[in-house]
């Protein structure tokens, strides 16, 4: 599993949603729940998958005809790393908020770069 090259608020939102779900979640459902555009969420899912945090698979045994939906879930170590990343992001955000920064700056995790 590779550290993420950057941790944006949108990435944190995606990580939170997958953590809340706890299991597999349709990619478009992540878009819906995050309230962010697919143009933001799709690349994040692709990046998380490329970094080995998330894995995806086709939905199994669907009664629907047509193309299969792609479901995303955390890899074995991905959930722990995501929890740590989200916590760290929120801690930094809380620390930075009084300085009138609307968006928290990024902080390193895993002894290296989250960003």
């Amino acid at each position: 599993m590779d550290p993420l090259s950057r941790l944006t608020p949108a990435t944190v939102d995606v990580l939170r949603i997958l953590l809340e779900e706890g299991g597999e979640l349709w990619g478009l459902a992540v878009v819906k729940r995050s309230g962010r555009p697919a143009g933001s969420v799709y690349p994040i899912l692709e990046r998380l998958e490329g970094a080995g945090w998330v894995e995806s698979a086709w939905e199994a045994d669907s009664e629907r005809n047509g193309p299969r939906r792609r479901l995303y879930r955390f890899c074995a170590e991905g959930a722990d790393a995501a929890r740590e990343a989200v916590d760290r992001f929120e801690r930094v955000a809380r620390r930075e908020r009084p300085r009138s920064a609307p968006r928290a700056p990024l902080a390193p995790a895993h002894g290296g770069a989250l960003s």
């Binding site: 349709w26 990619g27 878009v31 143009g39 690349p43 047509g66 193309p67 939906r69 792609r70």
Partner: protein
């Protein structure tokens, strides 16, 4: 245009290994968008962003180890940039190309040479632009800071090279030479840093590049024949055609007699110089044939032979200047002409030499990619042949 058609078009922009997966995913998302209260257009926009931002170096998509793509792009981009530099430098050194004089320089010949020069210049610019784009992509996708720095430095080299073409200010006086020198320095820095990166990186020789005797021998023989033609034509031009073009109306014997009486010219010395030049450049091409004929030389692929032969052709044409220097100066002193060459062949050979060197660089950079069947873990597949 239907959403499905747009999604298919976007999927075509993805690496072949990722195409099927993302197209089906996007189609399913588009089909189910209404179910979640989303618009199909949102899915299309998301797909468009993925085509732009997708990590195209993923082994599952490329069939190669991670890092292969930026390295290959860098190698090819630098090769194209170098090829452009060689051609532009050649044009600069020959003042945009030698203009022949004498009876052979008919209007048709002059027009043909002018057209060739026009084409070669634009080819060099096109090579520089394509090389810059490839190097830029490699720089953006390189995995280390040193590699990125090296590639961005290499990117600057063609910028300096084309500056004299962009504005008169950069083409006045010594400016083109200075810019070419700066370009060379920047390019050398980029290359040196790039070599440091390559040397410090794990090797990527995943697939043996081998050729059978039947594949390599005809190419080597053809190369030797081409080299023989170059040294024969170049030698004849230095000793016969160019002196005749410099002193129109005189026979060759008369030209040499006057050079001997007025300038103390000794023909034997010029013949020896030209012979040494011819042998020096022809022998390696012949040795290449011998090596290619040996059964064990499987690593000598046709592409590698082409690289060597083209480099020999370019070198022979460039160093012909030195072989013909004394005879050229004697002609100039005897007939009060310029020391430059004037024959038609003298105008054609530099173009051939520049294109040969450029071709050698491009062929050097165009090493075949690792096949999709190759094992991405680094093991060499058995029995695979690649040019």
């Amino acid at each position: 245009m239907s959403v499905d058609r747009v999604l298919r078009a976007l999927a075509r922009l993805l690496p072949s290994g990722a195409r099927g997966r993302y197209l089906e995913e996007w189609r399913a998302d588009a089909a189910g968008a209404a179910e979640l209260g989303l618009r199909r257009r949102d899915v299309v926009l998301g797909a468009a962003v993925v085509t732009l931002t997708l990590d195209r170096d993923v082994p599952d998509y490329t069939g190669e180890p991670r890092g292969s793509r930026p390295r290959r792009l860098a190698r090819r981009g630098i090769a194209l940039t170098g090829a452009s530099g060689v051609v532009l430098l050649g044009l600069l050194l020959t003042g945009g190309g030698i203009v022949p004089e004498g009876p052979g320089a008919t209007p048709a010949v002059l027009a043909a040479l002018e057209s060739a020069g026009w084409l070669v210049l634009r080819l060099a610019i096109a090579l520089a632009l394509v090389g810059a784009v490839m190097t830029a992509i490699a720089a953006f996708t390189a995995r280390t800071a040193l590699a990125r720095a090296a590639l961005f430095a290499t990117l600057l080299a063609p910028v300096f090279l084309v500056m004299p073409l962009a504005h008169p200010l950069f083409s006045d006086g010594l400016a083109p030479l200075v810019l070419a020198a700066v370009s060379l320095l920047v390019g050398i820095f980029g290359l040196a840093a790039g070599l440091a990166v390559v040397v410090g990186s794990p090797p990527l020789a995943l697939q043996p590049r081998r050729a059978t005797r039947r594949q390599r021998l005809p190419v080597a023989v053809g190369g030797a024949v081409a080299m023989l033609a170059i040294v024969v034509v170049g030698g004849l031009d230095t000793l016969v055609w160019n002196p005749l073009a410099k002193a129109p109306g005189l026979g060759l014997g008369e030209v040499y007699r006057r050079m001997a009486s007025d300038d103390g010219f000794f023909l034997g010395t010029a013949v020896v110089a030209v012979t040494v030049w011819a042998v020096f450049w022809l022998v390696p091409a012949l040795v290449l044939v011998v090596i290619a004929a040996r059964r064990g030389s499987t690593g000598l692929t046709p592409r590698r032979i082409v690289v060597i032969v083209l480099a020999l052709v370019g070198g022979a044409v460039f160093f012909r200047f030195f072989a013909g220097f004394s005879i050229g100066m004697s002609i100039a002193d005897t007939f009060m002409t310029s020391g430059g060459d004037s024959s038609v062949i003298s105008a054609v050979l530099p173009i051939v030499g520049q294109l040969a060197l450029a071709g050698a660089l491009v062929a050097l950079g165009w090493a075949p990619r690792v096949s999709r069947e190759a094992d991405v873990t680094g093991r060499r597949p058995r029995g695979a042949l690649a040019a």
